[in-house]
Symmetry: C2
Subunit: 307 residues, 2 copies
């Protein structure tokens, strides 16, 4: 079984959408990535940090999904990273109400011995120096995927560019791709980002789907149209977990197989948004995943004969 | 050869985009629909009206594409419909600078004898009473497709709802679908519009592609990613021309074949936006169309085996 190393936050979220609001619930990029990747036959581990206030049941939940938490530090007397946000009516815009870094402020990631030669690495959205520090501890993996956001472009540009230069795939949303590349056209943006190092660029467009770019080639997967999106939190990380989980399971990092990985990622993300937080991902069965893939085929595949 | 009846404006446009601006050039919904449909083996006719100021060369251009203009009235002493608009930096928003209805104000469409039993009818964006007046002159065609816009929802709601009740397919953009259905979710919006009469709904999302809905089924075709979009004018009408032209050529109005029609429409629209006005559509060769379909396949088709 191939190894997937996941780096990212394990956290508390408090979420408000037009449909309701939650108290502190389980959140964090690595949580969503891990739950999503657990739909595949992979050995995964999360490198992260939580405080002493983090419920044992949340840790048990992740462990029950065959996720190794020996690299997830529990800081004595420390408080877990907390994020609170509110989505507006169209669910495309959100406002951060509160961010408490807590134990994340001094996070020094330590990769467990067993995962120092992983097949695939998923660097979730974190300070680029933390992402780099993880890479420095590894023997060169088959594929390194990095997620980031505008905050790091605004505040740690040089460090971000440095770590991006060391990875194979960048996943990023459309506005961030434009900010990173200083290009409006997504084709040009992806080409510029490829010049920074990564051979592959995934641009996430939320409800408008995801695009995979590689050396002038493009693949596009729509988001599955849903009756209602309930809570978009974690959709991008769930996509990343599906993308890397599928690549780790198959061990095939060709462009053709990455197309499939984008479809799997989009498919899993379509479940994530159906309930608050990680709720839907916790109860999700492989049968449901498989059934919705039929929906994806029907949605996108056509039969034009070309001569 | 199957017959395609096109109803819509033949007009002058003056366009300003971030890349430049034009004087009065050839425009109008029926013009774009006709040029696009002329990529297929169909007999088409345009029912429209122009003024005496309309250049003979524009009429010759359309005739050279095997488009029957016997139903396009030339009003003596009249002035042709004129629209002028300006696009902003992202090309997703535009402002109408000037609209001069001129001969369109008193337009009473007359369908030529030869086209009173067409196979397919494309009712371009016009006053719903004009659209209805055309339908009243026809023996029931195989398929009637209607395009409309928010202006008619704001000003002629009852007449619009009446004519929508008489057609098979509505093509409409996402915001207009929401306005027409009073639903935010596009799935729910399409279902509501189907309840109004049409069995099929095409929702156009510009750079984010197009969706085809029918009885709970959905198909999605992305817009082909382009290095630059030069001028979006006419893209929706070019889509409609490709959609109906392909359906008329094949004579197959099944949902499966409509998927292909959506792809052909999207493919043709991707050319339209590459130059000002109708310029690109005038020079477009069938070889270019065919080649770009390969791009569409590569963009969207994947190979996940389902058990």
């Amino acid at each position: 079984m191939n190894k997937l190393l996941i780096v990212g936050t394990v956290a508390f979220d408090a979420i408000e959408t037009p449909f309701g609001k939650t108290d502190k619930i389980l959140g964090g990029a690595a949580t969503y990535i891990g739950l999503s990747a657990s739909q595949f036959d992979v050995e995964s581990a999360i490198v992260s940090v939580v405080g002493e206030d983090f419920p044992q049941e949340y840790l048990e939940l992740l462990k029950s999904r065959n996720i190794d938490l020996s690299g997830t530090e529990i800081v004595k007397g420390g408080k877990t990273f907390f994020w609170s946000g509110k989505y507006y009516n169209d669910l495309n815009t959100r406002e951060t109400l509160d961010t408490q870094l807590n134990v994340l402020a001094d996070f020094e990631p330590v990769v467990p011995e067993d995962f120092k030669s992983p097949d695939i690495v998923m660097l979730g959205n974190l300070h680029p120096l933390v992402q780099k520090s993880v890479l420095d501890q590894l023997k060169r993996p088959k594929l390194v995927v990095l997620d980031t956001m505008n905050f790091w472009m605004d505040n740690t540009w040089d460090q971000l560019v440095e770590v991006i230069g060391q990875v194979d795939v960048v996943t990023i949303n459309d506005e961030e791709a434009r900010q990173l590349s200083k290009e409006h056209s997504l084709i040009k943006a992806a080409a510029k980002i490829e010049e920074m190092g990564p051979k592959y660029v995934v641009i996430k467009k939320g409800e408008h789907g995801a695009m995979l770019f590689h050396g002038g080639k493009v693949f596009f997967a729509p988001a599955l149209p849903l009756d209602e999106v309930f809570d978009p939190t974690g959709a991008g990380d769930t996509f990343a977990g599906g993308f890397t989980g599928y690549l780790a399971q198959t061990g095939d990092i060709s462009f053709e197989n990455m197309k499939n990985a984008v479809v799997y990622g989009s498919n899993l993300a379509s479940f994530c948004v159906e309930k608050f937080g990680t709720e839907r991902m916790q109860e999700l069965t492989s049968k449901e995943v498989q059934q919705r893939l039929y929906g994806f085929k029907a949605l996108t595949q056509f039969d034009i004969k070309l001569t």
